[in-house]
């Protein structure tokens, strides 16, 4: 058993940067699968993926709020913020990698792994030495790479406990400018709204919300508001039925889902710009998409750094991103045996590489060799 890894505000800031990296890292795989689905087909599957993607955007925003509340500065345009796919999940999980895949059984399997619930084997032993784990862990500690969490939920539990510890020692922990908070008027989706974080209680609420919505925490398949956790949303795609309240996790009893696994553009898995024929029109579209995505991250940076109302602009940015992905996935990628093109999410775009020290310590994503 290991004690708390969070001792001061700096540690908390590192953890929250990592939380943002983690929340964002799931979005490109979800978007790729979502947009690979032929338009007007697979309504059930498309909506399930879409909801989770949208809620990850909310989680990213909530993590930014907590970070802002303690005087941190969110930065989505740092090196390494966007992983290079395929990747291990930003936090050190080693039993699977995350690819950018078309909608498929394999993609859903990965999504379930990303969102799977896990409970610490022993009540107080949230954080374990890597060697102590029988199965691979999901999350590493940003302050001690040798330590890993048993699940994302516990990663957040660690942060909550850290906030409590540090708040007790540093009365001015929540020193951030409240004007930097993203509130419900700036962001809402069906699955909850942005929580302004100004103190320990609201920070706790925001982080618990993320954990609950992802894996169900310890409330079962639905959260307190009756909302289905992400893991179970994806399970519905494997089990072929929607859950209803009080269902056994293995036996949903709601309406049947209709899935057509073939009504999908078979995009190249984790495509890279280097897969595109040099100087082709398609390569230009792929580069343009990456530039648009990079610009979009820049917009979020500004929104999370004092201009929350800029999130309204994010709406048309996202339409543009959608159009960009659609242009790619509908076209075969020359020289790839009929596989279709796909966005590569290779970031950064058009900026000099100046590694950010605090990021390499706190938020960098570890790529896997291809």
């Amino acid at each position: 058993m290991t004690g708390s890894t969070i001792d001061n505000r700096h540690d908390l800031i590192e953890y929250l940067h990592r939380a943002m990296v983690l929340e964002h890292a799931t979005i490109p795989p979800y978007l790729t699968a979502y947009y690979s689905i032929h338009p007007t087909t697979n309504s059930d599957a498309a909506h399930i993926i879409r909801v989770v993607a949208v809620e990850e955007m909310l989680h990213l925003t909530l993590a930014a709020n907590v970070l802002n509340a303690i005087g941190g500065k969110p930065r989505l345009t740092r090196h390494g913020f966007v992983p290079s796919y395929p990747t291990y999940l930003p936090d050190g999980e080693r039993d699977f990698t995350v690819d950018l895949r078309p909608f498929s059984h394999r993609a859903v399997e990965t999504f379930c792994k990303i969102e799977r619930p896990a409970m610490a084997p022993r009540g107080s032993a949230r954080l374990l030495p890597v060697s102590d784990l029988a199965r691979p862990s999901l999350v590493t500690s940003p302050v001690d790479e040798g330590l890993r969490f048993y699940s994302i939920g516990e990663f957040y539990a660690e942060i909550i406990e850290g906030l409590e510890t540090v708040a007790a020692k540093e009365p001015d922990l929540f020193r951030g400018d409240p004007a930097r908070q993203v509130g419900p008027e700036h962001f809402y989706s069906g699955g909850g709204s942005a929580i302004r974080v100004t103190d320990l209680a609201s920070a706790r609420r925001a982080l618990r919300f993320i954990a609950d919505q992802g894996e169900g925490f310890d409330h079962g398949i639905h959260d307190e508001d009756g909302e289905l956790a992400h893991y179970y949303r994806f399970r519905q795609l494997q089990l072929g039925r929607y859950y209803q309240v009080d269902d056994d996790p293995e036996h949903p009893t709601g309406p049947e889902l209709g899935i057509d696994w073939k009504a999908v553009y078979d995009v190249k898995v984790s495509a890279r710009l280097s897969d595109y024929p040099v100087d082709s029109e398609l390569a230009a579209v792929a580069r343009d998409f990456n530039a648009d995505y990079w610009e979009f991250l820049g917009l979020l940076d500004d929104a999370f750094n004092g201009e929350p109302s800029l999130l309204q602009e994010a709406i048309w940015h996202m339409f543009r991103l959608r159009d960009g992905i659609n242009r790619l996935v509908r076209n075969p990628l020359p020289g790839s045996d009929g596989l279709h093109a796909a966005p590569t999410f290779e970031m950064p775009v058009g900026v000099e590489s100046t590694p950010d020290v605090s990021l390499t310590a706190g938020g960098a994503v570890e790529a896997v060799t291809r």
Partner: protein, 641 residues
């Protein structure tokens, strides 16, 4: 949050078994009026049976997307294009409108049109009714709209005032989820409770609106000796925007998203798609399915769909309705049906201002006032279109975000009709079929393709400005809905026959509107392209000038409310004077249509009426006391509110 439609609710009620149930209320129609009344009665523990003429499938996100697919792939993008044609519950369709020649009615569409003026007015017979295709504008009526006879000698006075209805407007704005700001909507006497805020903050004006406002704001207009200034003002709209944290004394408001039997997350916030009409792609726009789904969550609320009311049966001694006979069809397009009856303590006709009188008249119930079906009203729409001198981003935003409302009221109404003006974000779509017609023209006449075609289209449509004048039509007994056994539909129901013309009062408003449009275009430096086609089905000549007049789908007036049974069909509670356990609800009860889109007022009237219904149920289901002489007491007294 999504709105859960209880799985199987569309089919869970067995029509045969329901025939043996005496419901507290039988409601005809699953649109906004029926849904609101069902939800409130159900919440009060009353048993309710809804009869819905449209196909009976649960409302799901997938079903909604079938509507969308049908719309996307349809050649004609008219109001009904998303909705399947069901022979057993036919719908009028704008594309059926034809010029009418004297003595030759147009029988092409579902509504038989006698004219003399043709109309393309429509309503939608699916679960959720016409709120499926409505645009979502929700202006309140002006205080003066309730007293136009007294103030201006036109139309009819209401037995209600604005103040009577105001609390129900508040409630209706909650139910429909209205986005607006009080400071924008307080004009021409419209007042709000102190501290009132709309559930959601006002939606922003489009770039086009702001371009128009730049030159039009402050434009002086002299009418009837009174000088006033025009201003571009945002419309209140029943589409999800930013929830106002100050709503309900700081409780805030949770927007209602999409409807489905399973958990979905769409419909949170309007994204500015440009096809509110005929269908919001993301369900950010209110439709009555949202209310209906909540209503059906009550175990007391039953629904039988594919059930077309055929006849209202009345006890001729008491005048009370005993049952509604309906035809329950097996398949949307099959010929098989079963005749069923529905029994209740109260009956509510919530079909709409054409279907309500159609059913009553088909049942031989003309009303003692003789006014059933008379005083049909709609808005007369006059369009004017021009090209702005610079690109104004037309086709961005929802169909309509802003307009000019300064001529909705005033002393001039003793001479000519009032109107509201919409600035259309969809360019010349309504008038001339943009952008499709522009596309066809660029390809066929211009030989454009590729990049040049794309740029050409942008160049053409993004300067388009279309103003739509929504002009009031006062009540006129000869504008009416009738029936004739010679005209029946697939199920043997008599079809509505519409006789319709515009009075000079309205035409004076039309002529003035056209003049004003020229002045506005001149002020904007816009090139006026308005040309009215003498062959257009709704071509009307006044003062030597011809105009294209279109319908507004804002049906009203056919069972007008009033304080006197001799001059009205229903009372202020929408309760029939002749049949005391019958309510005819909706636009048909409105004595004036004035210059408000009707849905919000329909919702407010129905919310108000539910109180009368509950009071009537409470009094009539109380044990009947036997007097000393052994005679039963009279029926309970009228319910006063």
């Amino acid at each position: 949050m999504y709105v859960k439609f209880p799985e199987g609710a569309a089919k869970r009620t067995d029509a045969a078994a329901a025939a043996d149930v005496l419901y507290d209320a039988v409601i005809v129609g699953g649109g906004v009026a029926g849904a609101i009344i069902a939800s409130r009665l159900g919440a009060a523990g009353k048993s309710v049976l809804i009869l819905e003429a449209g196909p009976g499938e649960d409302i799901t996100l997938k079903g909604y997307e079938d509507y969308l697919d049908r719309f996307y792939s349809a050649t004609s993008k008219d109001n009904q294009s998303p909705y399947p044609v069901v022979a057993n519950a036919p719908m009028p369709r704008g594309t059926d409108a034809r010029r009418i020649f004297p003595g030759v009615p147009n029988t092409l569409g579902y509504i038989v049109q006698n004219g003399p003026l043709a109309t393309d007015t429509t309503y939608t017979r699916v679960l959720g009714g016409t709120t499926m295709h409505w645009e979502g504008k929700t202006p309140r009526m002006l205080p003066e709209d309730f007293r136009t006879r007294t103030l201006y000698g036109e139309g009819a006075d209401w037995p209600l005032t604005y103040d009577d209805l105001a609390p129900y407007y508040n409630e209706a704005e909650f139910e429909l989820g209205v986005s607006a700001d009080v400071e924008d909507q307080s004009y021409l006497g419209v007042a709000f409770d102190e501290d009132y805020v709309f559930p959601m903050k006002g939606l922003p004006l489009s770039y086009l609106d702001r371009m128009v406002a730049k030159d039009v704001d402050g434009m002086p207009v002299e009418l009837d000796g009174v000088r006033r200034e025009l201003h571009v003002r945002p419309w209140p709209q029943a589409r999800n925007g930013i929830p106002n944290p100050a709503y309900n004394g700081g409780q805030g408001y949770v927007p209602r998203g999409a409807v489905s039997t399973y958990q979905v997350e769409v419909g949170g916030r309007c994204q500015g798609n440009n096809n509110c009409v005929p269908l919001c792609p993301v369900q950010a726009k209110y439709n009555a399915g949202k209310t209906l789904a909540v209503a059906l969550q009550s175990p007391h609320v039953h629904m039988v769909a594919q059930a077309v009311a055929y006849k209202v049966h009345v006890d001729h001694d008491t005048g009370r309705v005993t049952e509604i006979e309906y035809r329950h069809y097996d398949q949307p397009d099959g010929t098989g049906f079963t005749t069923r009856r529905a029994r209740g303590r109260l009956f509510v006709l919530a079909a709409n201002a054409v279907e309500n009188p159609r059913l009553m008249l088909a049942s031989g119930l003309n009303s003692s006032s003789g006014l059933m079906g008379r005083n049909f009203m709609d808005h007369a729409y006059l369009l004017a279109w021009a090209l702005l001198p610079e690109v104004a981003g037309t086709f961005r935003g929802t169909n309509c975000t802003g307009g000019i409302t300064d001529l909705r009221g005033g002393g001039f109404r003793s001479r000519q009709a009032a109107f509201a003006i919409d600035i259309h974000n969809d360019g010349w779509g309504w008038a001339r079929g943009a952008p499709m017609t522009d596309l066809v023209d660029l390809v066929d006449a211009g030989g454009r393709y590729g990049e040049s075609l794309r740029q050409g289209l942008v160049d053409r449509v993004s300067r388009q400005l279309q103003l739509a004048f929504m002009i009031e039509v006062p009540a006129n007994p000869s504008n009416r809905v009738t029936v004739d056994p010679a005209y029946t539909d697939h199920l043997g129901n008599m079809r509505p026959i519409l006789s319709y013309d515009l009075p000079d009062y309205t035409m004076r408003g039309v002529a003035y509107a056209r003049q004003l449009s020229k002045q506005i275009f001149a002020r904007l430096g816009a090139e006026d392209h308005t040309q009215y086609d003498p062959d257009f089905w709704g071509y009307a000549v006044y003062g030597g000038e011809g105009y294209e007049i279109r319908g507004g789908n804002h049906l009203a007036g056919t069972h007008m409310m009033g304080g006197d049974p001799k001059t009205s069909v229903v009372d202020a509670n929408q309760r029939s004077w002749d049949h005391r356990n019958l309510y005819l609800v909706g636009g048909g009860s409105m004595p004036t249509v004035s210059t408000s889109n009707v849905t919000l007022t329909i919702a407010a009237l129905c919310l108000r009426s539910t109180h009368a219904m509950l009071a009537q149920l409470a009094s009539e289901s109380a044990p009947i006391k036997i007097t000393a002489t052994g005679a039963t007491q009279d029926r309970p007294q009228e319910v006063a509110l």
